[in-house]
Amino acid sequence: MRNEKELLELINVHLEPQAVEIKREQNVSVELAPKNLIQALSFLKSHSYQHLSTISCVDWLEEGAFELVYHLFSYDDYINISLKTRIKREPGIFQTAKEIWPVAEFYERDIHEFFGVEFKGNDNLEEMILENWQHLPPMRKDFDTREFVNDQYEWRDYNGQKHTD
């Protein structure tokens, strides 16, 4: 059992974090440089952080970055770590974590589908959720869903009864 502070110490010593923060009880957030991330994942996995909850991606359009967040959990420490790293939005390429957690393949596939991030080493990035999607990856901030819907579909006007303004 480590507590949050001991965990952060461990991370500070071994992982060269850019920033660490105890968000709240049992929740820790760590920012890392992209080059350190994969190694950090395998380090933490060998230190009881075996559970990969999911991988999130956040599109910081104005900063020109994609933020990848790996949520890990330890069944020994009962602490949740959010490992964050920012990669350049263009071209948006990162390493796969598939070798460490095979299931990551599918989370990466999801991110690839919705953000267009490429994961080197993951050769299974084909369409999974969408079908024949020809446009910008929809979760990107520069994809405007309302505009898209306006172009693609028609809304019912109830024989002119509906007032739109």
Partner: protein
């Protein structure tokens, strides 16, 4: 696995159901009523609804749109629009009920609507829902689910004891947190915009405060009002009277928010914010008569359009009634000067101590200028003309207030009666209270008015504050006579009971009951029952049309003489915000007139 009981006979117990009554609800023969809180179809009390469109704002699915209803009147404080609900969008979340400002929108327990034609899935609910039958009420909002913030943030004010002996401004203004919290209460329905005489973009500037973008707020305010420091303090705030939140709670403090926005932006930045650093001049000249709110407003908007403005004022400083009528504790001169100085900085020329009609005639102005805007206001106090008013100790409120503003010595006696129930009466009573406090250490002022308290024209909060400061109110009394002692000093004011102020046609026609007489001892009486203007400088030269006591103007403040525009109290009002509006209208009108569009 070993301890899992298993037996092929255990399941046979299920056969007992063969002889039991099935649990099926045999709908529709047996109906299963929806629960008390069920979120069914919408119903809406069309009388209560004000068409504020907050439900439209909160709707998750864009299912609510406002539809114009011709059989509902568009009165002050409500729009003739009512929510129309698209059941091809609705998700029955009930947020619209939680947020409804009046509480008119509710849900019934009705849940079944089926039709072949999708075009029938849109309805403007009234007391019946889409099925047009009565159903018991379903989901109701309660204080927990309420999404509106009904309690306003109390503004910091000086205590009555602390304020009554000085002319320091009594309202301290919002802090940043308070202002943002108060601004967050606004639902941006724009009912206030419709009601505001100047149609200010109220929700927009409140939004600016909420978003911590005060510059945006100032921009929005200056769209329609060049005197925000003034209006942020002394506006009659009709907007707050109709505020949608006020139906179930306390109105948003629109006035104080406006004040917060302008107080917290440096006037040095105004030109940058408002984009008036460089104005292209068009070499046309306009004369403005009177430097009151209407004149200043017109001067501001015209000069922004590039006109050369000269303002003629018979007093020694600009501001009109704002300076000479409103006491300093309500409107500090610094605040007034901030507004006026900005207008001056736009290149407006002021000619003080010059009375049009005496020092220069209107005809002369017409010759020198392309157009003239007259806004000379009402500066002559009216008298009740009851016996005794010709005594030396009977004063006119406007004169006293002007003297106080000029810093002149004014007579202060121990025992004062003010006649009048308007804001001017409050202003003079409270000013005199401060002077009495300075001089005698106690307040002894009685205010009598024809109107009973519920119809007194003064703002409710003014009355409250006056009362806190020790002023005694005697509403519903008509002055009958001022009894004068033999030595010329005053003895008492004799009043009778005022039964009604207005007749059936709502004309001013008071009736009195002489059997109910009350006398108030006094040694000084101040009359504050209204003012009149002096339009002789116009009347001497032109045949101008009047509408009642006021000069008749059109939507662009143009009088029946095409180059002469009029505004302010002589045309509408009387209050600051109407004056500002007429000034703004005149600016637009003059621009159109000079471009041959009018």
């Amino acid at each position: 696995m070993a301890n899992d009981k298993k037996s092929i006979f255990s399941p046979v117990t299920a056969f007992k159901n063969l002889v039991k009554k099935p649990e099926t609800v045999r709908y529709p023969a047996e109906s299963n009523d929806a629960a008390k809180r069920y979120r069914g179809f919408h119903i809406n009390d069309l009388e209560e609804c004000i068409g504020c469109s907050t439900c439209q704002e909160v709707c998750v699915n864009d299912a609510i749109s406002m539809v114009e209803m011709l059989d509902v009147p568009a009165e002050e404080g409500q729009r003739n629009e009512r929510p129309q609900i698209d059941y091809g969008r609705c998700c029955w979340c009930g947020l619209c009920v939680d947020v409804c400002t009046t509480g008119s929108l509710e849900m019934s327990r009705d849940y079944s609507y089926i039709d072949l034609d999708p075009d029938t899935f849109i309805v403007t609910p009234d007391q019946h829902d889409i099925n047009k039958v009565d159903h018991p009420l379903g989901y109701l909002r309660d204080e927990n689910s309420d999404l509106l913030d009904l309690k306003r943030i109390d503004i910091e004010m000086l205590d009555p004891e602390a304020r009554v002996d000085s002319f320091i401004e009594i309202v301290e203004g919002f802090s940043k947190e308070q202002a943002e919290k108060e601004a967050s209460r606004c639902v941006e329905c724009e009912i206030c915009t419709d009601t505001c005489p100047a149609n200010m973009n109220i929700p927009q500037y409140i939004r600016g405060i909420f978003d911590e973008e005060l510059e945006e707020s100032v921009q929005q305010i200056y769209e329609d009002n060049p005197l925000p420091e003034v209006c942020g303090r002394v506006c009659t705030h009709k907007c707050e009277g109709v505020c949608a939140i006020s139906h179930r709670g306390e109105a948003v403090s629109i006035r104080w928010l406006k004040r917060y926005a302008v107080d917290n932006v440096d006037s040095a930045d105004y030109k940058k914010i408002l984009g008036t650093e460089k104005i292209e001049q068009n070499n046309k000249k306009i004369a403005v008569v009177g430097a009151g709110p209407a004149g200043l407003s017109a001067a501001h908007y015209l000069s922004v359009m590039g006109y050369q403005i000269t303002v003629y004022e018979d007093k020694e400083n600009a501001g009109g009634m704002m300076r000479y009528g409103i006491p300093e504790y309500r409107l500090p001169y610094d605040a007034l000067d901030k507004d006026i100085n900005y207008i001056k900085s736009l290149g407006v020329d002021f000619v003080f101590n010059t009375r049009v009609g005496e020092d220069i005639t209107l005809d002369e102005l017409h010759e020198q200028y392309d157009a003239v805007f007259a806004a000379t206001g009402l500066h002559n106090g009216r008298s009740t003309r009851v016996p005794g008013t010709d005594n030396n100790n009977v004063y006119q409120a406007v004169n006293l207030l002007a003297d106080i503003a000029r810093g002149k010595e004014v007579p202060v006696t121990k025992n004062l009666v003010v006649i009048g129930g308007g804001n001017v009466a409050m202003d003079i009573a409270r000013s005199m209270a401060r002077l009495q406090m300075e001089k005698y250490g106690e307040v002894n002022i009685t205010v009598t008015s024809l109107e009973t308290e519920d119809i007194m024209p003064a703002d409710q909060e003014e009355i409250e504050e006056a009362r806190e400061e020790g002023i005694v109110f005697k509403p519903g009394r008509g002055p009958k006579e001022i009894e004068v002692n033999e030595d010329g000093s005053l003895a008492q004011l004799c009043t009778n009971c005022c039964v009604s102020v207005f007749d059936e046609e709502m004309n001013f026609n008071p009736t009195f009951d002489d059997s109910d007489i009350e006398n108030y001892e006094c040694d000084m009486v101040i009359e504050a029952i209204g003012q009149g203007g002096d339009n002789s400088y116009i009347d001497d030269q032109f045949e101008i049309e009047y509408a009642g006591p006021r000069i008749k103007i059109n939507d662009f403040s143009q009088t029946s003489v095409d180059w002469l525009f009029a505004g302010g109290d002589i045309a509408r009002g009387p209050d600051v915000i109407n004056a500002i509006r007429t000034g703004h209208d005149a600016a637009v009108g003059i621009d159109k007139y000079l471009n041959d569009e009018l």
